[in-house]
Subunit: 101 residues, 4 copies
Amino acid sequence: MKVMIDICIVPVGVGTSVSKYVAKCQDIFKEAKLSYAMHSYGTNVEGEWDEVMAAVKKCHEEIHEMGAPRITSSMRLGTRTDRNQTMQDKIDSVREVLGES
Amino acid sequence: MKVMIDICIVPVGVGTSVSKYVAKCQDIFKEAKLSYAMHSYGTNVEGEWDEVMAAVKKCHEEIHEMGAPRITSSMRLGTRTDRNQTMQDKIDSVREVLGES
Amino acid sequence: MKVMIDICIVPVGVGTSVSKYVAKCQDIFKEAKLSYAMHSYGTNVEGEWDEVMAAVKKCHEEIHEMGAPRITSSMRLGTRTDRNQTMQDKIDSVREVLGES
Amino acid sequence: MKVMIDICIVPVGVGTSVSKYVAKCQDIFKEAKLSYAMHSYGTNVEGEWDEVMAAVKKCHEEIHEMGAPRITSSMRLGTRTDRNQTMQDKIDSVREVLGES
């Protein structure tokens, strides 16, 4: 089962600057050879369910190791059995309706 | 690593009534012997990370098997290394501040 | 238009204990005479869209005034035109399927 | 008070294709002259709280008018009083840590 997620990881108890923790997660997604794209309020990741979730777990583990005592993440998870659809496909579908494609 | 999640699973393409799908997930959390509590817009589940996530995966798989071609879930995930805190502890902390405990 | 929300407000930059901020929001929902119910990872609130959103804005404003320099909230918003459905109705529907009602 | 949101709007009861509803929301954000950016699992929007929330309300209203009987959205909301930070600033901060800037 493939999954597309959108995740925003918030380390709590380490001040207001969270860039280095977000950067660490980008590294984890890259090393896991997953397809991912960061935006201003989270990161899209797609791949096999188990691989994506293993990367999410690693993000929590490593951010704790970096010193954050508490983490709260918000995540969307999308799965579908009717057809394959990549992150780019979803954007293309909307752009087509908007007459931008 | 323990995790506390709050999950809202939305089957798409099967009409507006989603009760039977939500009920299926309650069964899955129960069978997995996880601590869980349903509210009006989701379900809290707590336990070991791998067990909780295995149950979430099973929810997606079984709802697809029930006929939903597409599922989009929103989930919060909380982990902490500074102390153990159950679902009840979190509620008690707020009630104490409110003078209700 | 009525709305049912589920909101989890996370003050960032004020340490790991967030109970007093969550308690403040409960007070705000109460003063606004909205129907609300706290759970372990958020709070359900229902009412007229404008009233609910005014309360959410007030939560952010007052938590900033309490000293939090940064807040990140995650919120679900549900609206429907096919029928009225209260927070309790949603729970009852699932319990009926589970044979608990 | 400025706010940055990330919103994913899910019409329920209208089948699995949601592109035209997402496109409608892009139009609403554009007409409201808000800064916004779509990604594969939602849209980032920033601006004054009241203007952003008015646009979100309009999205729900217009999608109901397009025929969706039920809508469930998931939204992140970020506010901060310590400094101004645009959507681009957030991305730049992470890229700087990653050595990509």
